[in-house]
Subunit: 75 residues, 7 copies
């Protein structure tokens, strides 16, 4: 199983890079991933929230709870 | 993994500061974070509740259950 | 982490005092907190149930399951 | 913490007495509590089911799964 | 706690008898309980499925996942 | 408890036979059960997906996550 | 139980191949499976997102959280 990319390793590689995070309820967050833990709780810096593709506000720092995350995409 | 900001560490840094907490069902709480635990259960002081951006009331102290939290943003 | 108010400690401090409990589905309970456990299951005495701000009945004693609790506010 | 009424202790005290059980989806059960376990799975004897306050049937014995319970009130 | 009827014990007593199983989404199953496990996963023989009180089909054997069970009633 | 049919044992007996799997959201899968694990994650071969009784496509192999399974019926 | 295909083994066999992943809320992802873990968190490369059969965008890499996965089909 050497060639398997573990999901948390992808998060580790995405540190300090832009990511798109999609959570339940059609909400999205774009920002710089500055942290995470094994539950996929995420820390984003300079994050913008989108709901149905409309910007809903920006946050200097935001902790997104992993339980509601659908996907995370480094960009 | 030294430079990773753990989500709970962000909460620790936000103690006694204003935070915005968004929970399922389009509810938001603004108040001073005075406590938390490893389940992301939160204690807010002087909290105001918003539903669909309308103020719904204020609470001297409120314990928000972590299970329903979508995100927490120190402001 | 000495100054952190643990959520369960807030419940302990609220024993025998009035609390407002909000659960999923827009239901609220007001009563005297007489017990709790580590899952945030709660025991309320002389509790009144509200749904969409309408009183729905009173209960001499009620055990509210923690899983559905959104927040608890001592008043 | 001597004076704390543990939720399961309330169930223990309610054994062989009438209880009202409210579960998700606006369903209620009234009957005699004859058993429970630590997950708040419940056993009711001579139970009547209500949905939106309409009687929906009676059951000599019913096991209600704790996961969907919102509250239990001994009466 | 000698006189407490444990929920799983009720299932044990109901083996090889007719039961009514109600699951989330207004679905019901009537059949002979031939097995269960500690998660309340159930095995029914000669089961009939009902949705909103309409028969939806019969199954010689069906494994119902405990997670979605609301109640089980031996009849 | 010798005569109890354990749910996972039913799956074991159903290996390499046709099964009907119903998951949340009114989706059904018909195919040959070629594997499972203790979480009731399932492997189906030559599976056809149905939504509201309409065929939605076929899959040479599909892994169905146990968490969303409502029932499994060997046919 | 030698002939049982374990669900995670199917994912292992699907590494570096195209898969279709269906998640709750009628969302689908097509891409090359480059990783997974025991929670069925998945890593897809060159992934395309579909919602109600409409393409919604492409992602060079995406981590899909296992909790919301309904099924995975290697193609």
């Amino acid at each position: 199983m050497d060639q398997v990319a573990k999901p948390l390793q992808i998060l580790q590689n995405a540190l300090n890079k832009n990511v798109l995070v999609c959570v339940k309820g059609n909400k999205e967050y774009r920002g710089i991933l500055t942290g995470y833990d094994q539950h996929m709780n995420l820390v984003l810096k300079n994050a913008e929230e989108f709901s149905d593709n409309q910007s809903k506000g920006t946050y200097p720092i935001v902790v997104v709870r992993g339980d509601n995350v659908i996907y995370i995409s480094p960009s």
